[in-house]
Symmetry: D2
Subunit: 353 residues, 4 copies
């Protein structure tokens, strides 16, 4: 199966292609009319065909996996970097200057390198590069993304959380000091490494919270909220939960309204912020977003509800954690960086059931 | 398979035995050393053996299903009532006086009949009987349960929510005006009726919130909290979510601490309240309760965590919705009502995986 | 989101659009460059927008549901018919002559109307039309499909079973009298009607066989095998099983080799039969097909293995029951009928995980 | 929670207690009225409380994990051995003579040590001990089990497969040369080690065959069939499949009837063989066994069906792979070895849903 195009394709490398975000990038880029995949790396699987690590991709024409050290950079215009957190900074710092990068790790998401060091346990290894990075929440940072060389692709929880919160904070409708995010994720967010805690029998038919008040996505969310609120000291309640499903992410967010604000105002703010967006949809009043309704797509569904506690409201947002929460948004940012229509390669309808 | 006992057994009828709570009652009572099941009712399945509606119970010696009208009440000492909400009040009002009752429906849980009418859409049909009913959260109402003729078995969400909250409110450690309960339930809570929304393909591999700020368990939780706080006007945020798992329920509850209170005080209050309890366990600091660790058992696991927002804390509690959230607690109340050891028939170790 | 095309689109109606095969057709046709969906029918949901029955399609521009009686046939060139078995014959018989049809029901699959009557419990209602129908196993019947007015889209089990068996029978490599098909299906094959047996709690975390030696797909498979073997009296062992997964179908087929035939001969036959096919792939020796590796795609993966019993071999084949087993093959047939590239609209990469 | 008993308890050690069969043994033995657990071993987890490896057992009074070398054998009467295949022979050979053993590994199941070496890749390390071992399919080998010092607990697939086949072979009703076993297992059978292939995302929502014609349980099944048929050269078709469920195992077995034999004869043979058995139940004609109907229990459900191919029949049998397929049958054998009622500790009703 092939895709023809009259244009010179962008030659793309995926570093760390053997994980779930790598597979998802390949799924999207194989159909992208302006892309040719020229390199795929996997240090442990180097030398193997993609079919060995992803049998579902066996029918497709893809290069074999190589080590990063063996990539021919003359044949690469753009890098999607899906390496583990902590190893990415030095790798990206060592890439040739002509290569533009969308990094899916957390390594360049925190702009305060002290915050990075505090949460990730080691000093930042590419401070200069950090200063040039753009935090790529596409709908919010479209202009900066367009011209960036290095885009830090947002985390899954931050994407699901920030999309409904940012317009409300910017419009001054909610308090920044009482934001409670109860988040839920499918298991693919835990990655493909063999860990006992990710075994089917440890995950199926049950659920639990993890990283309570200590998850690394909390400072990333706080950074985004701080930007919208014009403050640097925001602290949120953030509790992620692991749900027995492959894909899907939901944030149920409890907010306190500013005086005189009601739920209708929040709805207006959200609808205004996302009018015309291809991938962010504010649902009709009363309709609850469901993760299964975005599975396999780059969509985010959002809604806002009145609360029983006076002066409070409830936001619900869903994404596919591998799509808008990772590889889908990465391709969206790739499109923006290359001046393409933002939906190129992302015209995938949700798969239901 | 049979169970011998030197004692005269309590003769038990289960009304509405063809649902999941009915099956769970049979699973427990078949092994209960002081019980003999003498009647099982199911209006649509009347005349059929239990094996026709529950093949997994085919190997056991159980009476065939009958209509309620055909039960021989001379052969019944105790009724577990698992009828649908709304049909129960009249049925129980018509039972002979010698029969004691544990009702698993919502029909006798709300003590204010106006509140009942508001949330359930019709006037209460047994107001006198309501005044004699005891709300059977076993650990809290043990003494009243012991002598009650009619126990209203608490709902699943109220049980999961109230167990960690009640001691903290009674001890005056948290605000009653800022309680946010983000709750999650397995699918068996939706019952066994054929509904499109409960089909495997509509539920598996995805999740969603439902009844946002409008679920009928909200006033039931508020009633319990009001009792502990000595107030009648409490309003909570309560958001239930449907999780793709058969059993399991979790409440992640966000509370505001009273001045001078810290997380250690909450832990002390919880440990004191549940010291010596067979079924409620406060976990060691930092250990997150998981629904899969109580599956099939009557256990509730509770823990408390510091929050990133100053002055806030996070409570996590789990139960098996069919056990401590329904049939298990019903058997616990049955034991209390009959002066038995509270764990009789409930010595079932969690099934993992 | 929209799809542009320089060509006049084929105007398509989907009859019975509110089931899972209907949703899957919409997923595919929304992206098909040569299609415009002009009518969607659903008798019970008539008048509602698609978003009411399929919230995941809310972001797309689709006509509202109507009754079949209200379709404007002047605006329809092609019909995909997803009505329940038994209701389809009369509906299709009543369609205007200019409309070509791909029928996803079983109503036109059995060419012997007596066999139809025996298995479906009523006389065939459109015998003349039956004689014009083509059984649309695309890879096998490509030429007849191309010119047919009415294509009977094969059942899911027959598709999964026949693809590996037909070449072997045609090449005279296996016995037609000792074919044992042990088949497994995901739950979406049971449809979207509210049935207790399809509830999450009745299906998840367990499995069972059903329709043992009595499933209606058995005569359909036998008809296909008979065609390949040039005989009308073939009887097979066919045991379908229900597996707790949304999508996916597998046939593990046990065959007896003709004298002098070995597994390598079977492999050669299969590779020859499917060389150059876009959607049927014979895997490398030893690689086991997995349903998850075709999910969301129109692919079928096939392999053949030696057996421990001398003179026997084992065939394994997988498809996505909603794709190659229903809507995907229907679109493939649509492409063939219209002279389009067979992969148009079907360039969807499997979704994993 | 505790269990009282007027009898001197059997002091039990579980070697290799940190896997799923270990957890299941603890679930059963904690409630067994004649057992006291005095030692639990886990080489990597030595020194930790059980709660660290199995949080669901935290509420129970159990000894901490130790190394095997540190067990005080004066305090042990009986050993359940759940060590990995290959490491068990030497460990059991080194146990003190007064300790009786039920071994859940495959190390003592194959009585021909050459067959063992062929399938397990190394010479048997305890040949003398092997000669004293009893293959403990409880219903079949009750008398030998009663007096054995070492019982080799059967594998899960052999248990599910042999229960329906042995009576039919012994009664001479089916051919031994045309037995085709299509078997399906839940994921817990793959153990608790962290393997990529057992991750939720690699297993959920899909299925596949594995070890086709090469699984190590094939010679174990053939050994059992050979014993019943009085022959040593039986070869079967055996194809295991991995199903996305925690527990459950099913064997769909295709057999050829001897001349003059019909399905009714098979039923009579099975009913006679298992009349009075507590744990093996032949279902009523037409009722299909389902794995979910035995989950958590030691039951096996069996049925036999006519086939469409003349002269053939289909057997269906289900067990819970962790119960009758492992720990449940081990406790059953323990009861037999100690002269206890066979159902002691095994009176656990299936958990549904």
């Amino acid at each position: 199966m092939s895709t023809a195009s009259a244009f010179t394709p962008v030659r793309v490398a995926i570093l760390g292609a053997s994980g779930y975000t790598g597979a998802e990038l390949m799924r999207l880029l194989l159909r992208h009319p302006r892309v040719r995949i020229t390199a795929l790396t996997g240090e442990r699987a180097a030398g193997k065909p993609v079919a060995d690590v992803f049998p579902h991709l066996a029918p497709y024409d893809l290069p074999a996996l190589t080590k990063i050290a063996d990539v021919n950079w003359d044949d690469v215009d753009f890098v999607f970097c899906g390496l583990p957190h902590g190893t990415t900074q030095e790798v990206i710092a060592g890439l040739p200057a002509h290569v533009r990068v969308c990094d899916l790790s957390a390594d360049f998401r925190l702009f305060n390198v002290d915050t990075y060091a505090e949460w990730y346990g080691h000093a930042h290894k590419a401070v200069d590069l950090q200063e040039t990075a753009v935090y790529g929440l596409s709908e919010v940072a479209r202009e900066q993304v367009a011209t960036a060389r290095l885009v830090a692709n947002p985390g899954c929880y931050p994407t699901a959380s920030l999309l409904p919160l940012l317009p409300l904070l910017k419009d001054g409708l909610i308090s920044a000091d009482d934001i409670i995010i109860d988040a839920k994720s499918g298991v693919s967010g835990a990655g493909r490494d063999a860990k006992q805690g990710s075994l089917y029998c440890e995950v199926a038919e049950g659920m639990h919270a993890y990283g309570i008040a200590s998850h690394r996505h909390a400072p990333e969310i706080e950074q985004g909220l701080g930007w919208a609120a014009g403050r640097g000291d925001i602290r949120i309640a953030f509790t992620p939960h692991l749900i027995p499903m492959n894909r899907g992410m939901m944030a149920t967010t409890y907010v306190r309204l500013k005086d005189g604000v009601d739920v209708a105002s929040l709805r207006t703010s959200l609808e205004k912020a996302y009018a015309g967006e291809a991938f962010v949809k504010v649902l009709a009043p009363g309709v609850g977003p469901q993760t299964r309704h975005v599975a396999g797509s780059n969509l985010s569904l959002i809604n806002v509800f009145a609360d029983r506690i006076p002066g409070r409201a409830i936001l619900v947002s869903v994404i596919d954690n591998l799509m808008k929460g990772a590889s889908g948004q990465a391709v969206q940012n790739f499109n923006i960086m290359n001046g393409f229509d933002e939906t190129l390669g992302l015209d995938v309808v949700p798969v239901f059931p």
